[in-house]
Structures are given as structure tokens and as C-alpha cells.
Amino acid sequence: MGGTISFAAAPPPPIPANAPPPPLQATPTPEESEKPEKPSGEVDWLNLPCPISYDELQREAMMSLKPELFEGLRFDFTKPLSPKFSLSHSVYMGSLEMPSQSPETFKVPTAHYEFGANFLDPKCMLIGRILTDGRMSARVKYDITENVTMKINAQLTNEAHFSQGMFNFDYKGRDSRAQFQFANNAFYGGNYIQSVSPHLALGGEVFWLGHQRKSGLGLAARYNSDKTIMTGQLASTGLVALSYVQRVSEKVSLATDFMYNLANREATSSIGYDYLLRQCRLRGKVDSNGTVAAYLEERLNLGVNFLLSAEIDHWKKDYKFGFGLSVGEF
């Protein structure tokens, strides 16, 4: 309370200096808010909105429930050299969890520096990253025509069999989207999603893993209104994933998801909140595995963001805390 009073009492002098620049109020929100245009009144069945792509069906739920939690320190610095080209430097120090069979978690202290170059253009996007431990990644997105987009994702490591490459061709129709994917290890896939009504979109996917001689089918549905988003996904590998996002207000949304794996009969679900305030974005979630996590992005200044990440696993007694700073944004 004392802070409130002093804060409220202190500002009056700098008001004239502070008032002219309106960006303080109109600071851009960290995430884009893309709203589907809604036809009013009668449903025009020939003019349905274009659905979201199959890979990003659960995007909103993922945004709220799966923030990039980290442990340790991270510092990101992005320097734009021209409006389209920027360089990024990032330092990470902390411990990484090693996958192991035993219930205890092994943590290996790591530190690396990452250098990146970004070229962003409305038609073409090129992103490259190189790490001091020898990993390299590249992403390309290129609009061949207005409706066809090509995407390339590649990851190179100095360990054998871990390098990956993936090509995607996306076709965007008026009320549907189709995608063809092929990757190394003879992976071929395709998916298609179609708007069925102004709010509902249905889709399916097929993939074939050549080296493992495995194939799979997937089905998905997404209901999207301006307040709620519901998605359901079913895969022949035995995975059932459901998600639900409720926008309580402009700033607040609540999300929950449920995942069931038929193969090992494991179900997990989580529930979380996502607050998008003027000065910060705060995400928190609770998991059925006993994990509690929160992620705070605080805008200290224009282009300077402060990150706090916390994750507590009560059953495994695994506590992860991280803080970071990111300077400059593209």
C-alpha cells in the first residue's frame, strides 16, 4: 500500500514531459492476436474463413500451457542492422536435464553462446543459428506464389544420426489448407484441413516413416469462436489430445489440455492461465504430474524484457528457476 501511495504521489512533476509520447500506453503486445473474420447474420457457406494450419491447431493452448521454461541464465541481444536484417547473440548458462531411465534426473551444467542471423521480408524469411557446441540450424520460409509457401527446417549436429532436414509445401486455399512434408529418414506426410462451418474446421493427416516402416493416420477437429477454442486430435499411434481455451477477457485467457496415450495408458492434463497485461505477460500452469510452472515476461523498457521462469516438480523434487534478459526485438 505504501508503494501505491508513493508511486501515485511521485508522478505529477514529470507529467508534461511524459505525456507527449503515447507509446507508453500503446506498447505493442508481445504476441499477435489474430482473429478470424466473422460473417454477420446468415452463414455464407461458400465464403468460409480459412482455417489455421494443421500443425498449429493447438497453437493457443500451447502458447498458454507450454512456455519456454528454462533453468539458469539467458541473455538475448538482437541488433537490427537494417530494417530487414538483424543479428542476434545469445548466451545461456545453466543446467540441462539429461534423459535417463532412472526416476532421478541427471543435470549436466552447460553454457553456450549462440550467434544468429535473421533476414525477414514479407515474401522470404531466412533464419540461421550457430552454437558454440557445434549445433547449427536453419529455417527458410519462402512464398512461391500467393497461395504456395515453401518451408525448410534443417538442424545439423556433430553427432551422427541427429541431423535433420525437413521440407514443407503449404497450399492455402480459400477455406482450406493442405501441406506436404518430406524429411530425411524417408519421412513423407501430408495433411489437409477444411472449414466446415464458420466456426468448425475438420482435418486429417497421413504419414509414412520409410526407415521404420511405420505409417499413421490422424484426425483433428477445431471449434473456434471469439471466446472459446476447442480442439481434438486423434492419431492412430494411440494418442488422444484435447484442448480448450477460454478467453475470459481481452487480457486473460484460461487454457486446459488433456492427453492420453493408449500405448502406455498414461494420461496427463494441465490447466493454466495466461495474463497479457500492458507491462508484462504472465503464464502459469498446474500439471497432473505434480508440476507447477510460471513464466513471467516483464517489459522493463521499450525493447528490454526481463524473464523469470519457475518450475517445481513436487513429486520428483526437481526445482528449476531461471532468469533472463532480452534486449532488442525484431
Binding site: 501515485a8 502459469g284 510452472a293 510460471a294 513436487h314
Partner: protein, 113 residues
Amino acid sequence: MAGGKSTAGGNRRKLSASAAAGNEGVLSRVGNTVRQSEVFHKGKRVASNTARFSKKLLWSTGKAAWIAGTTFLILVVPLIIEMDREAQLAELEGHQASLLGAPSQPPGLAAMT
């Protein structure tokens, strides 16, 4: 089983009574009788059970409180702080808007009020 115990107790009582008939006082004899009685054993068992159970209960309540507290600290405390900041900012902005929205008042006077 209970019968066997009671007869053994009885034997011991008789023995101790005969051995210490001369030099032991009434108090110790009463104490011995109480200590070897059935009710005393039962009470002792109940007491130890209660102690163990309450210890367990206390420990698990402590653990639950720890989990609840840490969860609260992670999920709710930052939220409260940020909401408070947001409210402050909105208040400040409203204040500014009201100051700017009153052109008839000179800024010096507005700042004074």
C-alpha cells in the same frame, strides 16, 4: 494369548510380592501392580499408536502445507503483484487523462490539486 500373559503376570506379581514382602513399601507395590495390569498395557499401546499416527498426520500436513505454499508462491504471488502494478498504471493513466482533459486549468494548478 491374553490369558497366558495374565497368568505370567500373576506369577511374577506373586514372586515379587513374596521376595520383597519385607523391604518394599506400599507405593512400589501399587506401582508394580499398575504397571503389570492389562489396562496399563492397553493404554500404552493406544498412546504409542496415537503418537505415531499424530506424528504421521503432522508430517503429512506439513508436506501438504509446503506444497500448497510453494504452489501459491509460484502461481499466485506474481499474479497479485502484476495485477497491482496494472491497476496502478491504469490509475496513473486515468489521472493523466483527467489532467490533460481539463484544458481550462493551467498545468501548474492541475499539478497542485
